[in-house]
Amino acid sequence: MKQANDIASHQPYDNSICEYLVMLKEACAAYGTVTNIECKFILNTLKNIALNNGIPGAAGSANDKAGIGGDVKNIDIECTKIIANSVATSETLYSQIASDGFAGELMSMASDHLLGKYCVNLSGDLSENYRCIVRNKNQIAWWDYNYSTSGIISLRCPKNNINGGIMKMKGNIEGNATHFYLSKCKRN
């Protein structure tokens, strides 16, 4: 009963330095995405996305398969991106937006490095199936739907944040619905 009361009356924990590092990383990612689409022609936008997200993404997947992570993976992704840009068009390497983007990526890599060094990071996959059935007074289902979701769950906290043998962690569950289904039933 005490545990049920604790859960019901739970107040969110304060943000730790790890949360601020994640926010910084997200801000850098958002800036990179905005600079990708900030051009007049849709073809340029697609080219930017391919060079700045697509090719580095493939490099990241290859690193994952090879079991390479952390700073080595980040540096490899950044080098792949610079090479891809230089092969496509060397002018993009000298533009203002490219140098701003590069600074943003360095900041993102630095926050990743600090997160790995000073924070405990747990992450993984999460999936949910939900079904709801509404019946009328004759016990006939008139509304029956379900959905599936898939996403990632992550938790983090500073490494020295242990109080009485308990680490208070913060994180988030992020994802989207991957399926909505409506059963055929009497809705009138």
Partner: protein
Amino acid sequence: MKGKSGFVTIFPICVYSPPFIPFSSAKADQNTGFGAAARFVITPAYFNIPIDADYDLNTKKLTLYVNEAIADFGPQICYVYFYIATAAGLPLFTRVNYPINRVKLTLGKVFSDNSTFTIGGTDEKPSIKGTAKTHLGDEETHIEQKIDVTFNLKNNE
């Protein structure tokens, strides 16, 4: 469907179903790096729910708490039905929005019923495989809900 005494006939037409993509954008974006803001904008039926956890090093138990959502299924996530009724030869039209329960409600419920999970692995490389189920109501009740959640957590270092 025929109404009472056969005077009313109703035709339901589903005119809108919620959009979705068949994969998780958050998982897909782990290497491409568009970021959460971009995922929020372009992913239909997106949710982002902050959580807290107590990681007990002595008992090797993890307790999860679900907080208020940052984003949780936008207003376009619903079913819309259009009803055409003919009563005594006269046509009647009406539109009904059927809402869909948000993820915060369902995850919040399942993690309040099953909040504690056992931590496996070693102290350096902990791993947690969690399964949580909740069944509200039954075939005799007005509303019956079934929620199944599975997740795994591991140290990424």
